[in-house]
Subunit: 305 residues, 2 copies
């Protein structure tokens, strides 16, 4: 691969940004990578790990001369960062972000982007439950989707260059509308996370079942939930505060269906339960066929019984 | 390892029974393994795969002369099987089961067990989303827990032999009271499964989000849910019908907490969300430290963002 951007600035040095740095370096996609983070500790760790060519104390310094600026901070911090960097952006540069909600980011960042700078919001659908600059690895985006969400009229060359970067880091790239994105993600990511957080919280509250038992005998359903619920609290707080409408709509549907199943359990309606459980198998097959997951038995993690 | 039971009869030839057969054969734990299943297809597949020494058309034939009888059928089918095999059980034999709920199984099976036969209920906390005789593999129980739930006064030698068999197949063995088991499992397994089924059902219902998008962009939270929700519908129907009380109690707590979080989202209470999400991280750490899961990034599956 050849260099796509001479200088890339990473604002925020967590899982996504550090993984981007590792992937860009592996494939020679960036001439130079600068970075900054609000936390002095994250900046220090990044200097120690060496995945940026230069680490600055402020975002204003980090974006100086950058051809691509990546906003990789929690959604709630996007506006302050955009305001800070705006006067320092190089004409012709591209600004992107990696936030999990998009309408709120576009409203927070968009107004600060100066004439002559391209804004192409993005969302890589990749992650682990780990966070911080030590958690990154070059393979994170391998065969994952990265969604780009440019407003109509955005410079096509700027979009294409960013898509090329993501493809270079191993991702598949697609474009989508902002509001549709927020609804799809509410279904596939935001609500499942809230539900997992809740179930893990219930287990924690239950005094008759000791913590050690919940942990020791955590069967697979619950173990998957704890992995999901271990994700970064600040990032997820901001997701829910900033995708309120879609999240609440999906949660409303969720509780409605859950109540119907609870009622079937209470009344002993086995047919309704069986029909429901049979229907959900088809979605799983679709996902395996779409290549988003493997069909292999899950040795290390213990499965779903 | 040396032979623990000269003859083991597997009633039901699904994931658990076939995995037991593979594990017993690998380690030479059983002199001979017989099997039966209600479905002619399952019996035929088992004959073809050859993991039983003999496959019979009826449970009565299969248990003939067996030192250990394993009931590995859905919980709702336990009573009929127990009634059928009772007159054919060898004096001194042990009957066990692998059902995911225990009070209901003890009430269904216990009364049919003749004098001189030992009944030691069991529950291996292991599985995958696959089912049927083709889905078994010898490593399924490796480092998983198997709970034994004998009533007070059960023959100690019978319990110890069964524990030795499970340890021989790679499992860790613990004993627990029946009702406590049903509550712990409602928290760690049954409710998480129902919730996963529900969320996958919601996604399927949502007409504005096309199936292909939900599948294509299924971020990790949802992908884990679909894996959980792909488990055997009959087994899970029987779990919920037979662990009604504990399941409904935990679901009640779950919806209560979910409503509190929904309210925090609606009112924009970021502190409450952040506190809640921070608390759930500790449970995850406990599980990783207890060795029930690995801390490694989840390369193949894409993680939790």
């Amino acid at each position: 691969m050849s260099v796509i951007y001479n200088r890339v600035a990473l604002i925020g040095l967590g899982l996504i940004a550090s993984s981007m740095a590792h992937a860009m370096r592996r494939d020679g996609l960036a001439g130079e990578i600068t970075g900054t983070a609000r936390s002095a500790e994250s900046r220090e760790i990044t200097r120690e790990l060496g995945f940026c060519d230069a680490v600055f104390d402020t975002a204003a310094e980090a974006v100086n001369g950058a051809d691509l600026v990546v906003l990789a901070v929690p959604v709630g911090a996007m506006e302050a960062v955009a305001r800070e960097i705006a006067p320092h952006l190089k004409p012709g540069a591209t600004v992107t972000d990696v936030g999990s909600v998009k309408r709120a980011v576009v409203e927070a960042v968009g107004p600060h982007i100066p004439e002559g700078v391209h804004f192409v919001p993005g969302h890589p659908l990749a992650g682990t439950e780990h966070s911080g600059p030590r958690s990154g690895f070059a393979e994170l985006f391998e065969n994952r989707w990265c969604l780009l969400l440019p407003e109509p009229g955005t410079d096509r060359a700027a979009i294409d260059a960013l898509a090329k970067l993501w493809r270079g880091m191993g991702a598949n790239v697609d474009e989508m509308g902002i509001d549709h994105h927020d609804l799809v993600l509410a279904v596939t990511s935001h609500c499942p996370h809230l539900i997992a957080y809740t179930m893990v919280g219930v287990a924690d509250d239950l005094r008759r079942v000791t913590d050690s038992e919940v942990i020791k005998y955590s069967a697979a359903g619950f173990r998957d939930f704890t992995r999901i619920a271990a994700s970064d609290p600040t990032m997820w707080r901001d997701v829910f505060l900033n995708n309120k409408e879609a999240t609440l709509e999906i949660l409303g549907r969720f509780t409605e269906e859950l109540f119907a199943l609870q009622r079937a359990i209470r009344t002993g309606d086995g047919d309704q339960l069986h029909d429901y459980f049979t229907r959900t198998r088809a979605i799983r097959r679709g996902i395996v066929e779409a290549g988003q997951d493997t069909d292999a038995p899950d040795f290390g993690r213990g499965g779903t019984r």
